[in-house]
């Protein structure tokens, strides 16, 4: 497996140095692995902190900036960050209004953020947490760690970020973040496995003529394997899985997300099929985002996230945002 890296051990640090070089509007602490918006802390504004394993870029470091995250904590590839990182981030962004931890539902992320929350509260920082768990592929939540957090993370970070930027108090920002999560569902499809730098080869074996339905974002296989399908058939499976679970009554935000190695040509084609199926089902579309936002290294494939929005959520979604990975209205 050929990769554009030096050695696996420095992949994350090298990427952070590059992020810093490309985005002087961010403060990047390469040694301690914390990315902070340069004007932090903003007095009186709730600080939004997220983080998780690296390998999902632009999530989360690429979403740091006005209107979205105040700070991000990248862990090793596919490994959650450690509490020390979140504690540093909390200290850096707390402007007196407290901080909100946005946590994807993986055991490692949950445990490390929980420990960090305890430590931050010991230091007098007010902390609230919201868990993102939007993946409908995980059905049997009683006997698993629960639904995974995937594409909805972007919507939670964007919309809660706008709420924080408007100066809403911590309880309100937390409630909005929770509402976005509860209004969102996702479903992922892999056409190929990804390769982690440490392993250097695909994390699971997926023959050329087959695909995986219901995958997560860590190179873990899905729950079902099928013979290769067309873009239209995949869109039908994905929309059905999401809509059956979400039962949307309001217009939806649509995220057609690439997993890292699928070209935009294919993603736009897939988006066309998603729209066809949504129209057939009578689901109105409010806004659409197509691109690589919550990736899984070099995995080929896509995920679909729908988030049903009321007027307030849509207004906050449309609010200005200025980050390396998401930017509009500025």
């Amino acid at each position: 497996m050929k990769m554009l890296i030096n050695v696996p051990e420095t992949v994350v640090a090298d990427a952070l140095r590059g992020l810093a070089a490309a985005h002087p509007e961010l403060t990047v602490d390469v040694e301690n692995r914390v990315i902070v918006r340069r004007d932090a802390p903003v007095a009186g504004q709730v600080g939004l902190i997220s983080g998780g394993g690296s390998g999902h870029e632009p999530l989360h470091g690429g979403f740091v900036g006005p209107g979205m995250l105040s700070a991000a904590c990248p862990g090793e590839v596919f490994t959650s960050p450690v509490p020390d990182q979140m504690l540093r981030a909390a200290a850096a962004v707390d402007g007196g209004a407290g901080v909100l931890f946005i946590v994807k539902n993986y055991t490692g992320d949950v445990l490390n953020f929980d420990m960090a929350a305890e430590m931050a509260e010991d230091e007098g920082i007010q902390v609230a947490k919201v868990l993102v768990n939007d993946d409908v592929a995980v059905t049997d939540s009683l006997y698993t760690a629960g639904r995974r957090g995937t594409g909805a993370t972007l919507f939670v970070e964007k919309i809660a970020g706008a709420a924080a930027a408007e100066g809403m108090p911590l309880e309100r920002v937390e409630a909005i973040a929770r509402q976005v999560n509860e209004s969102s569902r996702s479903f992922g499809i892999a056409l190929s496995a990804c390769s982690t730098p440490a392993k250097g080869s695909p994390t699971f074996d997926l023959p050329p003529g087959e695909l995986e339905l219901g995958i997560g974002i860590h190179g873990e296989p899905g729950r079902e394997r099928r013979a290769m399908m067309t873009s239209g058939e995949i869109a039908e499976a994905a929309v059905e899985a999401v809509v059956e679970d979400l039962q949307p009554r309001n217009p939806v935000l649509v995220l057609v997300n690439g997993m890292g190695a699928t070209p935009l040509l294919e993603l736009y084609g897939f988006n066309a099929e998603v729209h066809r199926v949504l129209a057939q089902r009578g689901v109105p579309v409010a806004r659409v985002l197509v691109g690589n936002y919550v990736t899984s290294l070099d995995m080929a494939g896509a995920s679909l996230t729908l988030c049903q929005v009321d007027e307030e959520l849509l207004r906050l979604y449309d609010a200005p945002v200025k980050t390396p990975g998401l930017r509009w209205g500025v």
């Binding site: 596919f78 490692g108 392993k199 699971f204």
Partner: protein
């Protein structure tokens, strides 16, 4: 009686075996996890050994709490908090004593394992590190060697189980037929006791 030096040797022996077995742990983590268990633990135990060289605590409890803190600060993932809590809570239970008996270690280790079960919410049979640690604790009163055997057998016995905790749980029935990497690394930790005792 076991002194601080014994506990330092325990950590060093575990670090060495994690180093040796890192690739195997990662290979076990590949079909049901995300292929990094070996490299993550390797990073953590390397930090543990470095910290113990820098400041050598004078008590068994001190050695384990320092080691636990290092794991929490360097490993990440679920393994960091879980292994970190295991060692920290065991260390705390040992208190300030300069030397402890094997019985006291067994009792403290049970407190550590209980803390891991509370934190991770896993019970025996969920296909996690608990499946190696619980049998090891039960055998620890007999001898370190018995605990090692029990842990190894516990790890092997995870193979036919369906995972109900951690990332492997997302695979449902497809997690069956793979030995759990966390139970496997837990068996290495227990085997480190035998090495530290020079048995």
């Amino acid at each position: 009686m076991l002194d601080a030096d014994f506990f330092r040797r325990w950590m060093t022996a575990t670090a060495a075996s994690v180093d040796r077995e890192a690739e195997r742990l990662t290979a076990l983590d590949s079909p049901i996890g995300d292929a990094d268990h070996g490299s993550n633990l390797q990073r953590g135990f390397t930090a543990v050994v470095a910290a113990l060289e820098k400041e050598a605590p004078g008590t068994p409890g001190g050695v384990l709490t320092l080691a636990g803190r290092q794991l929490i600060s360097t490993v990440g993932g679920a393994s960091g908090p879980l292994y970190g809590t295991l060692l920290r809570r065991t260390g705390k239970a040992l208190g300030d004593a300069g030397e402890v008996s094997a019985e006291q270690l067994a009792e403290a280790f049970r407190a550590g394992v209980d803390a891991v079960m509370t934190l991770g919410g896993a019970a025996p049979g969920d296909k996690t590190m608990i499946d190696a640690l619980v049998p090891a604790v039960d055998a620890l009163g007999d001898s370190f060697a018995a605990a090692r055997t029990a842990a190894e057998e516990g790890a092997v016995a995870t193979t036919p189980l369906q995972a109900r905790k951690g990332r492997a749980s997302y695979l449902g029935e497809r997690s069956i037929g793979h030995q759990d990497p966390g139970a496997t690394s837990s068996a290495l930790l227990i085997a480190g006791l035998v090495e530290a005792a020079g048995e």
